[in-house]
């Protein structure tokens, strides 16, 4: 087991543990924090996969901006205590079972995948570098890039419409 593999397992277990803790934490603030942990772990994976740009963006945009926004809202609503009453246990169990079943089914479906020989190259390759990504983004992907401005515009307008006091 080389260092990459060790790191891989570590990051994977961290991500999954974090994810589970996101779900089971009673305090929403804890959930947010655990989610940040998951994001960090995933960024670690990106670095393993030589996707440095995405790793940074993930940290900045997700773990930074978005999660802070979440934290603000959680705090705004004063949800830092365990506000969720422990009711409807059956629905929860059903949820867990269903989620587990989905996992099982997906795994069962994908186990037959003819990808066993395929490998995701780690620690090699330059496609994740900002230079290459930039060239591709502003060349081949200029249309989606421009179009996403419409997305932001509409989100902006929307938030204004909803948030503005009448």
């Amino acid at each position: 087991m080389n260092i990459t593999q060790v790191l891989w397992w570590f990051l994977s277990i961290l991500a999954i543990l974090g994810a589970i803790l996101v779900v089971i934490s009673k305090n929403p603030v804890h959930s947010v924090l655990w989610l940040i942990v998951v994001f960090v772990a995933i960024s670690g994976h990106y670095i393993l996969l030589d996707a440095q740009f995405l790793a940074i963006v993930n940290l900045i945009v997700y773990a930074g901006a978005i999660m802070v926004l979440f934290l603000f809202v959680v705090m705004l609503m004063n949800l830092n205590t365990e506000t969720e009453p422990q009711k409807n246990r059956w629905l929860k169990i059903a949820g867990v079972i269903t989620g587990g079943a989905l996992l099982l089914v997906l795994v069962a479906a994908l186990k037959r995948a003819d990808l066993k020989s395929q490998v995701a190259e780690t620690n090699l390759g330059d496609i994740g570098l900002i230079h290459n990504l930039g060239i591709s983004l502003f060349h081949d992907y200029v249309i989606p890039f421009e179009i996403s401005s419409v997305l932001f515009l509409s989100a902006m307008v929307g938030v204004v419409v909803i948030g503005k006091k009448d």
Partner: protein, 465 residues
């Protein structure tokens, strides 16, 4: 391409019109002008006149199918705005923003109808969804509206997650690592489970968007809670456009080997028909009934996926047009009613014969009675499947469900014509409103007698190019 640019630009124009123009009528007129411009722009695109010539890098693909779909969407929106623009003013103060959001949604629609890459599909779906979340909750003081918006948003983003997982699978399964839909299934001797799983997840997420069972649960609540004018918009223009995108995806992306996945479509279609029609039977509110009706109609439209022949593609366009016209008409009348329950329609034929008569035509069309466009819409769907010779059970099931649909559509007719009541409308409909309704009804009948009016266009363009 014109349509994408124009709709985005006009969205911005609408935004600023809210700042500079105070008159609501003026805003509405700007919106109408914008829609007309869109229609013209789209037509110009068709004729080969482009505002900008951009290399699209296989991201988009403009063909008659998509452009005609755009035209239907723009035309329907135009009719909706003309008919129900006044009702939009009642929703809240931010009229200009609503128009802006509608235009942004239209932008998303143009992407969904002309995409050629899963990325554009994803972006298109998101661009049309996000304004819809807002529009659903645009009545800020209305708790039902809030609830609808939140439900829609939560479930919508959940389905986005499903869609992305599906796209990821498809990407992983594509031999060359591509998001272009033509390349998804090329030169593939056997189907990999990864591909099929991705396809399924993508199907599920789009089924969610077109409210196919069992992914339809948001629909009744959201349609019920949203302001009626936006319900009308969502239930018609948005839904049928996504259908066009759906047909596009499965035709171009997976059309070569439909035997693999049609069984899933069949299951979903059957479930949708069943749940939509059966649940609609017991509704008390016409608005909610229309929500279930839209589910039921979606079930019929899904039949197009089972053949993907020329007939099916013609049919889905016809269906889109006819269904949109009829539903917009019914919602326009519904918005004028004081009481949205079936009882509220009692005696409408006495008080407002024009409204009742046109509404009857729309309902007959939705039920698929000949002489209305709805008949041919259903006819094309059925014919496309029957031609393949497979899934006859589904066809039979579909017509049985169509028979059930008569039950709830005719309840409205019965209320209007055969029951006594006030048939109270909120305000007396103007002559112009009635005129547009009659025009709409005339269109529905025109499509019912001579469906070439629309399809002939399509064929004409195909053969002249």
């Amino acid at each position: 391409m014109n349509a994408i640019i124009l709709s985005a630009v006009w969205g911005i124009v609408m935004m600023f019109s809210g700042v500079f123009v105070k008159s609501k009528t003026a805003i509405r007129n700007i919106g109408i002008v914008g829609l007309v411009v869109l229609l013209i722009g789209n037509y110009a695109d068709w004729m080969g006149h482009h505002l900008l010539v951009i290399e699209v890098h296989k991201m988009l693909f403009f063909d008659n199918f998509g452009l005609l779909g755009n035209s239907i969407a723009f035309g329907s929106t135009l009719l909706l705005v003309i008919l129900s623009g006044r009702d939009m003013e009642k929703v809240g103060h931010n009229l200009a923003e609503y128009y802006a959001l509608i235009f942004f949604t239209l932008c998303g629609i143009t992407l969904v109808t002309t995409y050629n890459s899963l990325l554009m599909l994803f972006l298109g779906i998101e661009i049309l969804s996000i304004p819809l979340y807002i529009l659903t909750g645009s009545e800020k003081r209305n708790l039902k509206g809030n609830e609808a918006a939140l439900k829609y948003f939560l479930m919508g983003s959940f389905s986005t997650g499903l869609m992305l997982l599906g796209i990821a699978f498809l990407y992983g399964a594509s031999p060359s690592g591509s998001f272009v839909i033509d390349d998804l299934w090329t030169a593939r001797p056997a189907v990999s489970p990864l591909l099929l799983s991705g396809l399924l997840l993508l199907l599920v997420s789009i089924a969610f968007k077109v409210s196919a069972a069992p992914f339809h649960f948001w629909t009744p609540d959201v349609y019920d809670g949203a302001p009626t004018v936006f319900t009308s918009f969502m239930a018609t223009i948005v839904k049928v456009s996504i259908f066009i995108g759906l047909v596009r995806l499965f035709d171009e992306g997976f059309g070569q080997n439909p035997g693999q996945w049609q069984v899933f479509v069949a299951i979903i279609a059957a479930a949708t028909l069943f749940i939509g029609n059966i649940t609609a039977v017991f509704q008390q509110s016409v608005k909610r009934m229309m929500a279930y009706s839209s589910i039921a109609q979606a079930g019929f439209m899904l039949l197009a996926l089972l053949s993907l022949s020329g007939v099916a593609k013609d049919g889905i366009l016809l269906y889109a047009a006819v269904y949109s016209l009829a539903t917009i008409g019914i919602f326009a009348v519904l918005m004028r009613m004081k009481d949205y329950t079936f009882e509220g329609f009692n005696g409408l034929a006495r008080k407002q014969p024009v409204l009742a008569a046109t509404c009857t035509i729309f309902l007959l069309s939705l039920a698929g009675i000949p002489l209305t466009g709805g008949f041919f819409a259903k006819y094309y769907m059925l014919a496309s499947v029957v031609e393949t010779g497979k899934y006859m059970w589904l066809v039979v099931f579909a017509v049985l469900c169509a028979a059930v649909s008569v039950y709830y559509y005719f309840r409205v007719i019965q209320a209007m014509y055969f029951k006594d009541g006030e048939g109270a409308t909120e305000l007396a409909p103007s002559a112009g409103f009635k005129g547009v309704l009659v025009l709409l009804a005339a269109l529905v009948i025109l499509l019912g007698v001579w469906p070439n009016a629309l399809l002939g266009q399509l064929q004409h363009f195909i053969y002249t190019w």
